[in-house]
């Protein structure tokens, strides 16, 4: 996968994650394993139809994949699909770790 394709994929991932309800849907799919809109409905404050739409967006972003099971589609997390997004966040987190370590020095050095 070249860089441009990688970035496009990542953009779709971030766009999919921009909605808080969708993040919650993703989290539930990750925790439950293969699950469907019908199974998720009792756990979310939105309609089944809305859940179907959120699942479709997550599916298009490559974060989850679906398999038909009888009348419904069951979705599961795609392993590794969030790695790039979490690496970017981890990088910003490590900058906070460095800053807070320096803050500790600052308050200790200048403590009267």
């Amino acid at each position: 996968m070249n860089q441009a394709v990688l970035h496009e994929a990542s953009d779709a991932v971030f766009a999919a994650l921009a909605d808080p309800t969708r993040r919650r849907v993703l989290r539930l799919v990750a925790e439950r394993g293969p699950t469907s809109a019908t199974l998720l409905e009792p756990e979310l404050p939105v309609t089944r139809q809305a859940i179907v739409k959120h699942l479709a967006v997550l599916n298009r972003a490559g974060l989850i994949s679906g398999q038909r099971s009888g009348q419904e589609v069951r979705y599961a997390l795609v392993p590794g699909s969030l790695d790039e997004a979490s690496e970017w966040i981890a990088q910003i987190g490590s900058r906070w770790d460095e800053r807070l370590a320096r803050l500790r020095q600052v308050v200790l050095e200048q403590n009267p």
């Binding site: 993040r23 993703l26 966040i89 981890a90 807070l100 320096r102 600052v106």
Partner: protein
Amino acid sequence: MDVPDSIEREIILPVPPARVWTALTQADQLGAWFGTRATIDLRPGGEVIFTWDGSTGPRGTSRGVIEAVEPTRRLAFRWQVNLSGEAPMTRVEFTLEPHAEGTRLHVIESGFASLPPELRTRERHVEGWQLELGELAEYLAAA
């Protein structure tokens, strides 16, 4: 599992909250631990500016706007996540609490998932990649 929209950290500092507050809000001290020069107009709506001179990493300026000021308890601002001089995008909130050993300082930076994609790409380009795994990646590995 944390879907990547925010970063949270918490540390215990062996000094009283008033001392930590000074380090968060006085320009020279704020600059010292952000690794840059800082100016700060400490009031809601006031401006905070960080300028990196290039000696410790990329050169650049990040402007922010103060959102909340509760002396010795809470400080919040929005700031630019990248160094290219565009609109503020993420929100940083510090919360200070007295603790048996001094002060519990909590920091949360949030709003990453809503950033326009080109900002993330540029930031990545400037900083390069550190292949560290976040909590989410750990969770996924364990799942």
